[in-house]
């Protein structure tokens, strides 16, 4: 017998449900049973999730292994594989733990709509940032220049000249120099202390880099045996000339302007730690201090002439945005300042009482 929708006046007529959508065939309120997941299913889903988790970690490590051996597996595949496994896991959680499989489809629709929205966010933002250079080339450059912390001021009032990464290294060297000076009973670190401190920090940088790099051994300019994984970076560094290399600017991937013709090795050394001697981009020596890249005006066309000129006219010469060109100008004069003046200031303030005197 099929159910007939009740008419007003019938005893079964419900004004809250005039068409009888929520009645069963007998005309009673339909309390359809909620789905109760079987515990075997839930345990199975958990096991599958744990399996996929361990699997994705192993896959990532296998990829590292292959990439370290120059197997042609790209980062793109790295991302695609890891995200596919994550999506499978997310599907399992949604379908079975969150009951979407046996639930009102409206809930699934909400989830899918949200994910589509995420796609829209990603797509339009990527379209924007990826195509800025197509309108005005300098816009891409400005976008890339941000994010190094340059031009900001720390809580303790110290300015950040150049990228904060280089500044942090400089400060660590200064602190270490003060420590060394204190251990010798000196109040102020002399040039030898600064030299030793710099050596110390750079040794640790190579160790840290070797420890943290997932796959490829970092190709140092002095590294002539990249296949030998058993040698400590340290030893290779020493074998390749070690501190003398730093002192004489040899480890800088052949920057001609590292030499000032200055005999004072302390100076040269203080200069040297501005440079990352491998693939990284160190903007350390290229900009005047205290000028934020983020707030820098860019030339606009069709406005009052000169209104938005950058503080220094030569800044936008190289739209390619590469650093070799930057290094060429403004390098020497800033280096000399940073190496000399900063350590003396820092020790005067911070490190008076720390030593054995």
């Amino acid at each position: 017998m099929t159910f007939q929708a009740p008419n007003p006046g019938d005893s079964s007529y419900d004004p809250a449900d005039p068409h009888g959508f929520h009645k069963d065939a007998e005309g009673h309120d339909a309390h359809h049973q909620h789905h109760v997941s079987s515990w075997k299913l839930l345990v199975g889903v958990l096991i599958a999730l744990l399996f996929f988790t361990v699997f994705t970690v192993n896959v990532a490590q296998g990829e590292s292994f292959l990439m370290g051996r120059d197997f042609p597996i790209t980062q793109l595949w790295n991302v695609i594989i890891a995200m596919s496994i994550a999506t499978i896991k997310a599907l399992l959680v949604c379908l079975y733990f969150m009951h979407l499989r046996h639930d009102n489809p409206l809930n699934s629709f909400v989830l899918l709509f949200t994910i589509a929205t995420l796609g829209v966010f990603l797509m339009f933002t990527a379209t924007d940032t990826g195509s800025r250079a197509m309108v005005n080339p300098f816009k891409a450059e400005v976008l890339t220049a941000g994010g190094t912390g340059e031009g900001m001021v720390r809580k303790d009032g110290r300015n950040i000249a150049g990228p904060i990464v280089a500044q942090a290294r400089r400060e660590a060297i200064e602190d270490k120099a003060a420590e060394i000076a204190a251990s010798h009973g000196r109040e102020e670190p002399n040039e030898d202390d600064l030299y030793d401190a710099s050596e110390y920090i750079w040794f640790h940088l190579y160790d840290a880099k070797a420890e943290h790099s997932h796959h490829k051994p970092v190709a140092w300019t002095f590294d002539d045996n990249p296949d030998d994984d058993n040698t400590r970076w340290h030893d290779r560094w020493m074998a390749a000339g070690g501190p003398e290399r730093v002192a004489h600017g040899g480890a800088h991937g052949g920057h001609a302007d590292d030499h000032h013709g200055d005999d004072h090795h302390g100076d040269d050394h203080a200069d040297a730690h501005h440079e990352d001697d491998h693939a990284s981009d160190d903007h350390g020596a290229q900009h005047e201090p205290m000028v934020s890249t983020a707030s820098r005006s860019v030339p606009r066309y069709g406005l009052t002439p000169g209104l938005f000129d950058p503080p220094h006219g030569d800044h936008h010469e190289d739209h390619g945005g590469h650093d070799d060109a930057h290094d060429a100008h403004g390098h020497d004069e800033h280096n000399a300042d940073d190496g000399h003046a900063a350590p003396a200031d820092a020790h005067g303030d911070d490190d008076h009482g720390s030593g054995g005197h």
Partner: protein, 229 residues
């Protein structure tokens, strides 16, 4: 919500458990509709949560495209082993929440409580591991976001950006872990009054949905932060 006074309804001299006397709010046609609406509302809320994390994922993607070297170095600083342990902890907790919902549906009051307690313990473990093995050591080494950065051994000038993404993503996620654990503790406390049972478990279900969302977000954060390099 109108409920029948339990003391007025006697069951062989004992008051009925509160889930048996639960009546839907007067403006609902039936308990079914009330439950569905509550769940749909929870899903709408989860949608906003996903959009919150969408901002972080989009930021991650774009910054990674701009500064791949910094992000490669960055994931190198993290231990995949710690991430793996935390993922396993969260997956187990997600399972126990699903089991807790099942227990409420089947009126297994003791196992409902046990499952929720396991979940909350997992949440505490996740947060402790995160704090003790990740946040505290990394922060004290100077691996910090933005202007706070003071780690001397970074090799890419954009590494503070990576730490910004890392701390924002994981800290907002950790906040959700805390909130989710709080919700589950609330459910746990109320479960002693026998409030949850086959006819009334919307609260367990929705707290569980929230917890699964925490798990879902971590399922994506884990490979993005720890594995891709």
């Amino acid at each position: 919500m109108t409920t029948i006074d339990p003391s007025a309804v006697r069951n062989e001299g004992k008051p009925l458990p509160r889930w048996k006397t639960y009546v839907q709010g007067h403006h609902w046609r039936n308990a079914e509709d009330e439950f569905d609406a509550a769940k749909f509302g929870m899903w709408l809320f989860l949608a906003t949560e996903i959009l919150l994390f969408a901002g972080i994922f989009v930021g991650y993607g774009l910054l990674r495209l701009k500064h791949p070297e910094a992000f490669i170095n960055g994931s190198g600083y993290l231990s995949a082993k710690i991430g793996l342990i935390n993922t396993i902890v969260l997956l187990i907790s997600s399972f126990t929440v699903a089991m807790a919902v099942r227990c409420a549906q089947l009126n297994q009051q003791l196992w409902l409580k046990i499952n929720i307690v396991i979940t909350v313990i997992c949440a505490a473990a996740f947060f402790t591991i995160k704090l003790a093995f990740e946040y505290v050591p990394k922060w004290s080494e100077g691996k910090r976001p933005g202007v706070l950065f003071s780690y001397p051994y970074a090799t890419d000038p954009h590494e503070p950006l990576w730490w910004g993404v890392y701390y924002t993503g994981t800290a907002i996620h950790a906040l959700h872990v805390i909130i989710g654990a709080g919700l589950l503790i609330w459910v746990f406390v109320r479960s002693f009054k026998k409030i949850y049972g086959p006819t009334n478990y919307a609260m367990v279900e929705n707290a569980g949905l929230y917890w699964h969302l925490v798990d879902l977000v971590w399922i994506f954060l884990f490979p993005l932060l720890y594995l891709i390099h």
